[in-house]
């Protein structure tokens, strides 16, 4: 996928309803109408969101009987981004907690800078 493609994909994901649809459609067994039940908006509005996601290739629709099932089909680059962003968030949280622990347990003499360069 080229850069313009990535831009379009992230634009499609800039909307919280569409992100939620991408998440819920991971299992691939929800129909358009089942998905639409979860949102306080018209069926047509939800259909429109799904169409945006479909256009950039984040979800696919397949016919089953009288309805369409929606399933998430994200690009590898998007997945890589999600995975590494999740990991980054987890580590930022860990580093914050580490710093808190260090501050909490540092003996007083370690807290006082010897050369007075502390704020």
């Amino acid at each position: 996928m080229n850069e313009a493609g990535v831009d379009r994909m992230f634009h499609a994901l800039a909307d919280s309803t569409r992100r939620d649809i991408v998440r819920r459609a991971v299992t691939g067994d929800l129909s358009v109408s089942r998905l639409a039940e979860g949102y306080a908006m018209s069926f047509a509005a939800v259909q429109k969101h799904i169409a945006v996601l479909e256009k950039v290739g984040l979800v696919t629709k397949k016919r089953r009987g009288r309805e369409y099932l929606v399933s998430t089909d994200p690009d590898a680059l998007v997945l890589a981004r999600l995975a590494l962003d999740q990991l980054e968030e987890a580590w930022r949280g860990r580093v914050d907690r580490m710093a808190d622990l260090l501050a909490e347990t540092a003996p007083p003499e370690q807290r006082t800078p010897t050369k007075g360069q502390d704020r």
Partner: protein, 168 residues
């Protein structure tokens, strides 16, 4: 700011994070070496970690579980690849079944941690690698499907940030 830099390589599936702490190197090492301190920062407050086994020697095993707000336990393991006390640690990090046995079909990540003394305290360099794209996909799906750890709660923010960065 404690986190000095974060580099993510979307092709190699690696994350490199540099953090600077205003504490001496032996003190920072204790955060890893003492399981009682480790469990105060490894898991998020909503999913606290409990370490049962903690053998920081080459080939050694560390076992832990994280507990969800509903009381459900998510066990995990570390296999220590290399360790130099007060300096560096390399390990594999994976998931276990309810009996604490490693699950072979679950994703494994490799993590390297290096400590160095700086003018203001200690620098921690952390390098984390997904074993494969398939394993990475699996972690994402778990995050999406099961709400594992804090992944789901934060995905909106992450996506929103990524999206706004893209638009900027």
């Amino acid at each position: 700011m404690t986190v000095t830099s974060v580099d993510k390589n979307y092709d190699d599936l690696t994350l490199t994070l540099i953090a600077d702490f205003s504490a001496p190197i032996d003190r920072v090492w204790q955060l890893w070496a003492d399981p009682r301190q480790l469990e105060r920062w490894w898991g998020p407050p909503t999913y606290p970690a409990t370490f049962e086994q903690h053998d920081l020697t080459p080939g050694g095993t560390v076992s832990y579980y994280m507990t969800s707000p509903e009381g459900e336990k998510f066990p995990g393991w570390w296999r220590i690849v290399a360790v130099t006390p007060e300096e560096s640690l390399e390990l594999l990090d994976g998931f276990s079944d309810e009996n604490g046995n490693p699950k072979d079909d679950m994703p494994v990540t490799t993590m390297r941690m290096q400590l160095t003394t700086t003018d203001t305290g200690t620098r921690m360099a952390l390098h984390s690698v997904f074993a494969s794209r398939e394993q990475m996909d699996q972690l994402i799906q778990m995050g999406m499907d099961e709400g594992l750890a804090q992944a789901v709660g934060q995905i909106d923010d992450i996506l929103a940030t990524s999206a706004s960065r893209q638009q900027a």
